[in-house]
């Protein structure tokens, strides 16, 4: 059951991967359908909340505040969780998190674990590490089960298998669960998963989860889910290990007031998701006897250090930005080469990678701003995208084409004399490129159909613009020229 996890360090450039995936008509259809459905549900439920913008602003302030005082709140969480009978572990990177979890599972005496859907464990490629240590991991979220049995990769934060349709899922279940007569109604498929997993819930003694929120003042954990697989994993086993990014901590219980309202409406378009579990530490006679939280850095402190990029860590993983993004809706999630796809992935992944990988992701956007508009914690994703593009260009050195071009433009704009000279030069240089003859317009075919007075082809790098659209020729007379002439008359 091993599969190659999405890894930003080895993934192809976004543009390369996207080009390939755009050829998969079925994938595009599935992604379009799923994101349309969630978006429509979300829109209705956001409209009925007249205080939506007030909730967003409050949530933004809470998340930004928690990050600003992260050292205080992590310390407080650790103290209270420990007092409640839990054990806190700290992992600097993915390898350390893997080592800690593998050791804890072995210590629990189990060679199997049941797992709640967790993008953080996907991020640290935990399943592969468990497998290498001889530990069998069962994903219990329906979508994650589909991904695991199909040896596939998640393509969405909330609905990781949205790129698969019912016929594809039936094929996976038929093959892996040995159910030749399985129907393809969603209810049949969900029922097959229920039966497949029930035995594991009752038998497996160790569970691994992520968490939606850690509450500093109570040492509490909050897990938000729909299917009940989460509740199974966090109540029936004897040991629970939660792998949680350090940014997930919130100061107090009352901070859940806006967050618990914003998350389900944004994520799945529900007023409330079916199950929210909240608890702190070990409760005798109710749930696991051993409880561990692994606090994961893995690049997050690097994001925190960048005052402009920091807001990325406010994310509560609702995926509304993915559903709204015109780029994600075309390519699906795999093109991003990371478990964090879509707009949030385009800013989170390169930063988690210390800007050493995924440098094409900040360009996987038209900067339309739809992501910012739907973000429940008001992360200004376009702003961060531009900031990261700047970082990429800076990293590539002053001699990179983009950097040179910007420097040249800056020099021209700084002096009126140079600006006017550039305009004159431009009017002369463009002459051979501007379409003038009317008859060329009648010829069928895109390039030939360029209208008179427009440019349909530009050489070299500039061709990136004219590959998909025309450029209007410069006017014979600029506004300044006209204005000056008018003054003299």
């Amino acid at each position: 059951m091993s599969r190659v996890p999405l890894d930003p360090r080895t993934a192809p450039a976004f543009q390369t991967a996207a080009k390939m995936l755009l050829g998969d008509a079925q994938l595009r259809k599935n992604v379009r359908h799923a994101t349309d459905v969630i978006q429509n549900k979300r829109r209705k439920l956001v409209e009925e909340k007249h205080d939506w913008q007030l909730l967003r602003e409050s949530a933004r302030q809470i998340r930004a505040h928690a990050l600003q005082h992260l050292d205080v709140y992590l310390d407080e969480f650790e103290r209270n969780f420990t007092r409640a009978g839990g054990v806190v572990h700290w992992a600097r990177d993915a390898a350390e998190a893997q080592r800690i979890v593998v050791a804890l599972v072995k210590e629990s005496g189990s060679s199997e674990v049941i797992k709640i859907k967790s993008m953080t464990t996907e991020e640290v490629q935990l399943n592969n590490a468990l497998e290498a240590a001889g530990i069998r991991a069962y994903e219990t979220d329906l979508a994650e089960l589909i991904i695991q049995l199909g040896e596939d990769q998640p393509s969405h934060i909330v609905v990781p298998a949205l790129h698969k349709n019912r016929a594809q899922i039936r094929e996976i279940f038929r093959r892996t669960m040995n159910l030749p007569d399985l129907g393809d109604k969603p209810a049949d498929l969900a029922d097959a998963a229920r039966r497949f997993l029930r035995e594991k819930f009752l038998r497996v003694k160790t569970a691994v989860s992520g968490a939606n929120f850690l509450i500093a003042e109570t040492g509490g954990i909050c897990i938000v889910e729909s299917e009940g697989n989460g509740r199974m994993c966090l109540t029936l086993p004897e040991t629970l290990i939660s792998v949680v990014g350090i940014e997930k901590v919130i100061p107090r219980w009352q901070d859940l007031e806006p967050l618990i309202q914003l998350l389900p409406r944004s994520a799945t378009g529900e007023r409330m998701n079916p199950y929210n579990s909240l608890w702190s530490g070990v409760h005798p006679g109710d749930g696991p006897r051993a409880m561990h939280v692994v606090l994961l850095d893995n690049g997050r402190t690097n994001v925190l250090a960048d005052s402009e990029g920091r807001q990325t860590l406010q994310c509560i993983r609702c995926a509304a930005c993915q559903n709204a993004c015109p780029v994600y809706r075309q390519t699906g999630g795999h093109a991003y080469g990371s478990v964090y796809a879509g707009p949030i992935g385009a800013i989170l992944t390169p930063q988690l990678m210390h800007m050493e990988h995924s440098q094409t992701l900040p360009y996987a956007s038209s900067l339309c701003g739809a992501c910012y508009e739907v973000c429940p914690v008001k992360i200004n994703i376009p702003e961060v995208l531009i900031h990261l593009r700047n970082k990429v260009v800076e990293q590539n050195g002053w001699y990179a084409p983009e950097s040179l071009a910007m420097k040249a433009v800056a020099a021209v704009f700084r002096s009126e004399r140079r600006f006017r000279a550039a305009q004159r030069l431009g009017r002369i240089a463009e002459l051979p490129l501007v379409k003038s003859e009317k008859r060329s317009f009648s010829i069928v075919g895109q390039k030939q159909a360029t209208k008179p007075g427009w440019i349909g082809w530009l050489p070299g790098l500039l061709g990136g613009w004219t590959d998909t659209r025309d450029l209007q020729a410069m006017p014979k007379e600029t506004f300044r020229d006209w204005w000056e002439k008018r003054g003299k008359a």
């Binding site: 329906l142 199974m232 850095d297």
Partner: protein, 214 residues
């Protein structure tokens, strides 16, 4: 282990400056919370909304006066064809009518799986979202009880129903350390083509008896 802890905390402090509990507390007080925090509907409207939301989740809702609860329970259970019901400790005996009721004695997971039905009371209901709040207290029991059986009959007093999520979270604040579960309808998934399917791992069927004269 402590090396990792110190290193991460050190990185955090050098990333954004050192904070202290006092500084954090002062800044925390300045966070805006101007969203709706109190009820705007009448009691009657709130109960009506709560019932409507529950029905949207395919839960059936029944009304009963305090004296009629036992009879209402018997009626609902016979309608469902339920003969044996798991109950937590502390559930009023006069409610336990119309079936065989078995009190939880810390059954193993496998034993729990042998029960098809469970009956409990609840801490709160939230009208705007159709949510019911369960906690590990007398009459509700440990979390696994309301999870493993396929059918959950929940008995809730009308004066436990509030309008908004915010009111509920504030009422829960004093008992925030208890294991708490908010459930909104039967377990569900939309993982396959975004089609909502009722019942995956938690109870597939939920009924609610609302007790009160209102």
């Amino acid at each position: 282990m402590t090396a990792a802890r110190e290193e991460i905390l050190q990185k955090i402090r050098s990333a954004k400056g050192v904070s202290s509990p006092e500084v954090a507390a002062t800044a925390y007080a300045g966070i805006e919370r101007s969203y709706q925090s109190s009820a705007q509907l009448s009691r009657k409207e709130i109960l009506h909304l709560f019932e409507e939301r529950l029905r949207e989740y395919d839960a059936s809702v029944y009304r009963a006066s305090a004296a009629e609860v036992g009879a209402a329970v018997a009626g609902v259970l016979s309608g469902r064809g339920v003969h044996r019901v798991l109950v937590p400790e502390g559930l009023p005996l006069e409610w336990q009518q119309g079936a065989e009721f078995v009190a939880d004695r810390g059954f193993s997971s496998a034993k729990l799986d042998g029960f098809a039905s469970v009956m409990t009371t609840a801490t709160l209901g939230i009208a705007e979202t159709g949510t019911i709040v369960l906690q590990n207290v007398s009459g509700q029991g440990r979390r696994a009880l309301t999870l493993v059986p396929d059918y959950h009959l929940c008995i809730l007093s009308t004066n436990q129903v509030v309008e908004t999520v915010v009111e509920a979270m504030r009422l829960l604040e004093p008992t925030r350390n208890l294991p708490t579960t908010l459930f909104s309808g039967p377990s569900a998934t939309a993982d396959i083509e975004m089609t909502r399917i009722k019942g995956v791992h938690g109870p597939r069927f939920v009924d609610v008896v609302l007790v009160g004269e209102e």
